[in-house]
């Protein structure tokens, strides 16, 4: 069993509007048999945090194209994207690029 982990989530660039306008969330992911990865985190966010229009945040298994993801301040494309295994105290940032310029 993997122990519960505490992580810090941040939504910006307009993505926070789908979370009641709240940008920062400190959450604890419950313990489960395998380590948490980003793919499971997205399911968890959708079920526990998303307030409206889930299709504007998730698409299939992943985030909607146009939403940038940073894991501990690095582009998730460098970190394994959906397969990245979350560690306690990780910082995950979601930034929408889809809002006005």
């Amino acid at each position: 069993m993997a122990a519960p982990i505490a992580i810090h989530l941040e939504f910006g660039g307009g993505a926070e509007l789908l979370f009641d306008g709240v940008k920062e969330h400190h959450v604890t992911l419950p313990s489960q048999s395998e380590p948490w990865d980003v793919k499971q985190l997205l399911v968890w966010i959708r079920e526990n945090l998303l307030k409206e229009r889930p299709e504007l945040f998730v698409q299939g298994d992943s985030v909607r194209p146009g939403i940038l993801v940073l894991i501990n301040d690095a582009d998730w494309e460098l970190m394994g994207e959906l397969e990245y295994q979350l560690q306690d105290q990780d910082n995950i940032v979601f930034i929408s690029t889809l809002h006005g310029g």
Binding site: L78, I95, H99, G100, G101
Partner: protein, 343 residues
């Protein structure tokens, strides 16, 4: 296992660049991003020493990054430009009023003078009032046409030599797609140009220094630099057609990031075959602004608003323009056609 920067090989990479696939650390990314914009400016000869350049500033990510980078480059390479911020207040409660607060902070942060021109002072109508009359279907047409002209009018008031806007690579690619989807050959032909020429009387040359900058990099530049920008969707923007084009583009980019540059490349190299009818640019006989018709779009839209005939500028009613110009009365049938709005 952290990935090292492929440029300096010393620090941890923070992003994979969509254009090149390189992984760069923060400082190498800042440098590469700024240098590429410098290269764009130099190779397209966008500015001349001594010019006053108005930056169209909305408070959003693109124009905030543009203002920041232009200020950095103007100092680093001694362009000798006088930079100023120019904002348009469309009069949209709960959207533009908030974003203008961001622009006012940018004015302080970048120490650049700011001028705000409003639809209300220029046209006598705020977007809030326009939406009350026309509904939510064609309001974006009014806003787009008025904004373009408002920026020009503001720039003229300030004696600006050039206007630059924050349009990025994704915007340009999206516009290419939109013009294909609309069959708008004239716009398709000119939408990839990095700058407009000043041959039309009364139009100030415009340019897009971020034309080759990916949206992803603009947003990450703003994020890593902790730039202060505003990101809320306009309260009146449904614009479903453009939304589809944007979603399509983002889906393509997710599979193949070069898609954006490839679409721009296609747009830049299209040529229009002989015999295709292209509009001839002239000037509006009422306000003198560039127009391919006797009256510019802005004057027609405004006339429609002021006469309670909001559909006048929507769709093709060119035949009526002569009547308006000579102040002839419209027939009842013509009036009826222009009044009916779908809400």
């Amino acid at each position: 296992m952290p990935i090292q920067c492929s440029s300096c090989a010393k620090k941890r990479a923070v992003l994979r660049r969509p254009k090149t696939g390189y992984s760069l650390c923060k400082s190498c990314f800042f440098w590469a991003f700024e240098e590429e914009i410098h290269q764009t400016i130099v190779s397209a000869q966008l500015f001349n020493r001594g010019e006053t350049v108005g930056i169209g500033a909305s408070g959003g990510k693109d124009s905030t990054v543009l203002a920041h980078v232009l200020k950095v480059l103007n100092e680093r390479y001694d362009y000798g430009l006088k930079l100023l911020l120019l904002s348009v207040d469309e009069g949209i409660t709960g959207y533009r009023d908030d974003s203008l607060e961001t622009v006012k902070r940018n004015q302080q942060q970048y120490d650049l003078p700011l001028t705000i021109v409003s639809y209300e002072e220029l046209y006598g109508w705020t977007m809030d009032a326009i939406v009350k009359q026309v509904g939510l279907k064609n309001n974006c047409t009014f806003c787009g046409v008025f904004r373009r002209q408002a920026l020009d009018r503001g720039a003229m008031m300030l004696n600006v030599d050039k206007i630059c806007t924050g349009h990025n690579a994704d915007d340009v690619a999206e516009t290419v797609l939109m013009n294909v989807l609309r069959g708008d050959i004239a716009r398709l032909h000119r939408c990839t140009a990095i700058s407009t020429t000043s041959d039309g009387e009364g139009a100030i040359p415009r340019c897009k220094p971020l034309k080759y900058a990916y949206e992803k990099e603009i947003v990450l530049y703003a994020y890593f630099k902790k730039l202060d920008y505003f990101s809320t969707e306009c309260v009146y923007s449904p614009n479903a057609y453009r939304g589809h084009a944007r979603t399509f583009l983002k889906d393509l980019e997710a599979v193949r990031p070069s898609a954006i540059m490839d679409i721009i490349h296609s747009g830049e190299n299209l040529s229009v075959k002989e015999g295709v009818k292209m509009p001839v640019q002239g000037t509006c006989s009422r306000c003198g602004y560039i127009s391919s018709q006797a009256l510019c779009k802005s004057c027609v839209l405004l006339e429609g608003l002021n006469r309670g005939l909001p559909k006048l500028g929507i769709g093709k009613h060119h035949r009526l323009h002569d009547k308006i110009l000579t102040q002839q009365a419209l027939t009842q049938q013509e009036e009826k056609k222009l009044k009916a709005m779908d809400f």
